[in-house]
């Protein structure tokens, strides 16, 4: 990233102000049946400032990075906030002050992979898949890497320098069965750099072999029966539930606009065996997939215990909402691009593990479904959610049965969580969470497997 010492600009701050220098570096490769459809690299960087005056905010950004532009974005952000204050003064008080410094820049491995090596890795992997699984009718392999580097100073004296790298390989396999295409995708990778996750195409093949086996089972799969069933949601589905159906409803901006969680403060919203948290950077002594130590307002990021033993205990805050709610700021203000303002966002959201074994959970169900792999998911202010499930199995008399075709499950988050009566004892994170809320954002989501009653949209 272009080096510019932002601290010299502090004297230019006339009101509460955040000044951020950010660079996002992304790389996308997409190989469809051996043809490289996309081979693009994007580097975006720039300066932004955000100013608060009595409840009105002004924001300005510019891709030019020099001392003169620093002055101009600070001035423009102040002028924008001033314009709104003149239009309608909200008369709010100053934001709480916090002065913190943090550096969180993971060391890049010495081995730097060139574009040619990344392309060679992906094409090599594709050739192996084609050779080993000739029944496939289509293959799509994508590589997506992002590294997000930020430098921030605030008028309160906080400073941050962070780097968030992520590397993912998406593998989407298709087979035909009775002339109908059936597909199954999976993703590999996570927080860090290419070499930390991928050594050779060979090393990925055992996992892709399992994906292929699951696809074969899915081609002979069945549609589940529509209706409410006792189901086990495996870790990734538990993660998407925690993020979409609970996490969004407790974001303070949604609470303020009327989300269902606003009326449930300190109330029982889940079975007493359910606890759910948004972790800042470390969960149960291990690093999270999206570590946030100081957020983009300069607040120290703290864990937010959203549900504790079934009781709703915390919302997710930025500085202003924490002041309005008279609660501590949790460090959830995050921005995706240099030209984006910080919004209230989740970091690493998960249900906490319980004490059941997954095999016992399966054995406990006479008739139901084991839902494993999520597609996309959405949720409402009411907590009503929908998740696509791309891989799952019937459970009959305590044993796994036939695979399922693609299906969608739905429910109301707090209603579903009240039906949870078993929680497995292992926490695992999905390696590639992305969230959309005005801006995209890298997030972590995960959990144990949970057993509860959910509406299955079968045939």
């Amino acid at each position: 990233m272009i080096d510019l010492d932002l601290r010299h600009s502090a004297p230019d701050f006339k009101h509460y102000t955040e000044l951020r220098l950010q660079e996002n570096l992304e790389h996308r490769l997409n190989l469809v049946n051996g043809s490289l459809m996309f081979n693009s690299r994007t580097m975006k960087s720039g300066l932004s400032a955000r100013t608060y005056i009595n409840g009105s905010w002004g924001f300005a950004s510019n891709p030019v990075i020099d001392k003169q532009t620093v002055k101009s974005v600070i001035k423009e952000a102040g002028s924008n906030a001033g314009y709104l204050r003149r239009k309608s003064s909200l008369g709010k008080s100053d934001l709480p002050s916090s002065r913190r410094k943090a550096v969180d820049v993971p060391k890049e491995p010495k081995k730097h992979f060139t574009i040619a090596e990344l392309v060679a890795f992906l094409t090599g992997l594709d050739r192996m898949i084609m050779a080993r699984f000739p029944k496939l009718t289509s293959r799509s392999l994508s590589l997506y890497s992002i590294s997000m580097e930020k430098k921030l100073i605030t008028s309160c004296g906080s400073e941050l320098h962070s780097l968030l790298p992520r590397i993912m390989i998406y593998v989407d396999l298709t087979m035909e069965y009775k002339k109908e295409p059936i597909s199954l995708f999976d993703l590999y990778g996570g927080y860090g750099f290419f070499g930390q996750h991928f050594t050779s195409p060979d090393a990925l093949m055992p996992a892709i072999g399992k994906q292929y086996q699951a696809l074969e089972q899915k081609t002979r799969g069945v549609y589940p029966k529509a209706g409410v069933h006792t189901c086990i949601l495996d870790a990734e589905l538990g993660g998407i539930l925690a993020h979409e159906a609970v996490g969004h409803t407790v974001e303070s901006d949604l609470v303020r606009s009327g989300s269902v969680a606003g009326d449930c403060w300190q109330q029982l919203v889940a079975s007493p065996i359910v606890s759910l948290a948004d972790f800042a950077h470390t969960a149960l002594g291990k690093p999270c997939p999206v570590p946030v130590r100081i957020d983009d307002e300069g607040t120290v990021a703290e864990d937010a215990m959203i549900i504790e033993n079934g009781i709703l205990k915390s919302y997710l805050h930025n500085k202003e909402s924490a002041m309005d709610f008279k609660m501590p700021a949790t460090g959830n203000a995050r921005a995706f691009l240099d030209s984006d303002e910080a919004l209230v966002r989740m970091r690493n959201t998960a249900i906490l593990p319980g004490n059941h074994k997954i095999d016992d959970m399966i054995a406990s169900i006479d008739e139901g479904y084991y839902l494993i792999r999520p597609g996309n998911g959405q949720a409402d202010a009411t907590g009503e959610f929908m998740f696509a499930v791309t891989m799952g199995y019937e459970i009959k008399k305590g044993k796994l049965g036939r695979a399922l075709k693609d299906v969608t499950v739905s429910g109301v988050a707090f209603d579903f969580l009240k039906t949870v009566d078993m929680v497995s004892d292992e926490l695992s994170w999905c390696c590639g969470g992305f969230c959309g809320k005005k801006q995209p954002m890298i997030v972590g989501m995960g959990g144990p497997a949970v057993r509860g009653r959910i509406n299955v949209g079968g045939r």
């Binding site: 043809s35 490289l36 690299r41 924001f59 239009k87 606009s257 005005k438």
Partner: protein, 430 residues
């Protein structure tokens, strides 16, 4: 440097070693007002630039995108794009437009009227408070976007546009005591701010509906029924249909079930769909595309017959089909002759569906999801709003089972769509 100099510097650098090169410079300035807590709280002014360099050497293609336009950044980007191209496998399907063509377009308001933007937004908030007291605005934005876009390539293509447009979005729900409705939203693009925002799209209907939806009923069991779908909901199904059957990815991968159906009946006889990014109906435009061609309207399905795929130059070269006149999502569906009331009366049992929260369809077009902001219809009458109701079906079959199409259409500024009734979808309650 001027835009002209930036592009010529980049293209000259690429042409030195590449067989073919293309550069696109997009410079924009956005002025955006944001509503939070029911008041206009944030004013954003952002300057953005994007310089995309593309190079083909020996059939190998690379793309590099930066947001800097100084000489040394361009020089580095030229080296990076050549490195990227050299790293790729050769594919003779890669190409750029090769007929010299120099044209330009100016469209829309080039400067924001800030005070009017603020006035219209605060006026909308006041209108909502007065007429729909239970509605809460979750977020709303009013943006003016001015964009200068120019593409040049090594075959003499030089296309440019200066466009300006207002974009308005609002996301809202209703709240009464501890009851919360589902949220709904409206997004549209406007050539000017001459009218109150509350008159846009279907906003008044949507505001009325979310107030109703504070008290939803439930359906029990499942049945095969009709879906009367709003234009705003329809557009998401059309996007899925295009992705599943007619666009580059599904055609190149061979997963499209319509890949061999050109000239054949694929949908109901009265269904005609076109894409037209240059239509006079729209204030948004994509006048030229990333291949370097000026875009034209494209009839995709006419009277139920598949007329064209939606393929880029690469997609066309890869599949052996014709390049599409455009591959942009500016969809227009031909109106029918039914009124909305007639359509409701025609439904024996089904749903009025305003929004759909669904999973990505399977490659065979199977889909399922939750019906949002919807009402139960029985014997031609809208009965009550329902929640926790799912709809499932198959995209291909759904567009073959169109029962009626309305004469009224809604224009969002980038799509123009009617209400439609689809029959034979599976509807299931709790």
């Amino acid at each position: 440097m001027t835009g002209e100099r930036i592009l010529q510097t980049a293209l000259k650098g690429i042409k030195r070693t590449a067989d073919k090169g293309q550069c696109r410079l997009t410079e924009s300035r956005s002025t955006e007002l944001n509503v939070d807590e029911g008041v206009v709280k944030l004013l954003r002014t952002t300057v953005n630039s994007s310089l995309m360099l593309q190079a083909i050497r020996s059939g190998k293609k690379g793309t590099h995108l930066i947001n800097k336009t100084d000489f040394s950044s361009i020089k580095e980007a030229v080296e990076a794009v050549m490195l990227s191209a050299d790293s790729a496998p050769a594919d003779p399907a890669h190409d750029f437009a090769h007929c010299p063509n120099k044209r330009s377009l100016i469209k829309g308001p080039q400067q924001p009227d800030m005070d009017q933007m603020h006035n219209r937004l605060t006026e909308l908030l006041a209108d909502i408070r007065e007429r729909y007291p239970l509605v809460r605005v979750r977020e709303a934005t009013m943006e003016h976007m001015q964009q200068n876009d120019r593409l040049v390539n090594s075959s003499g293509v030089d296309l440019s546009s200066c466009t300006g447009v207002y974009r308005f979005t609002v996301l809202f729900l209703a709240k009464q005591n501890t009851k919360t409705s589902s949220f709904n939203y409206c997004g549209c693009s406007l050539p000017d701010l001459s009218d109150r925002l509350i008159n846009k799209g279907m906003l008044q209907l949507q505001f009325r509906q979310v107030q109703d939806q504070l008290n939803c009923g439930h359906l029990k069991g499942k049945f095969a029924g009709d879906i009367l779908m709003s234009p705003g909901c329809l557009v998401s199904f059309i996007y899925d249909y295009m992705d599943s059957y007619l666009c580059d990815r599904s055609m190149i991968s061979g997963t499209s079930l319509l890949r061999d159906k050109l000239g054949q009946n694929v949908a109901a006889q009265d269904f005609s769909l076109e894409s037209s990014p240059v239509s006079r109906h729209f204030c948004e435009t994509e006048w030229f595309n990333s291949d370097g061609f000026v875009q034209k309207g494209c009839r995709l399905i006419e009277d139920g017959v598949l007329k064209n795929f939606s393929l880029s130059l690469y997609g066309a070269n890869k599949t052996g089909h014709k390049r599409s006149p455009n591959f942009s999502p500016f969809y227009i569906v031909k109106p029918g002759d039914a009124s909305f009331d007639d359509m409701v009366r025609s439904v024996k049992r089904g749903l009025l569906l305003m929004r759909f929260s669904g999973g990505m369809p399977s490659v065979n077009g199977d889909f399922s999801g939750v019906a949002k902001n919807c009402y139960y219809i029985e014997n031609g009458k809208i009965k009550f709003p329902v929640t926790e109701t799912m709809v499932s079906g198959n995209l291909l079959k759904m567009f073959q089972n169109i029962r009626s199409i309305s004469r009224e259409r809604i224009n969002s500024g980038s799509w123009l769509l009617p209400w439609m009734v689809f029959s034979g979808l599976t509807i299931s309650g709790k």
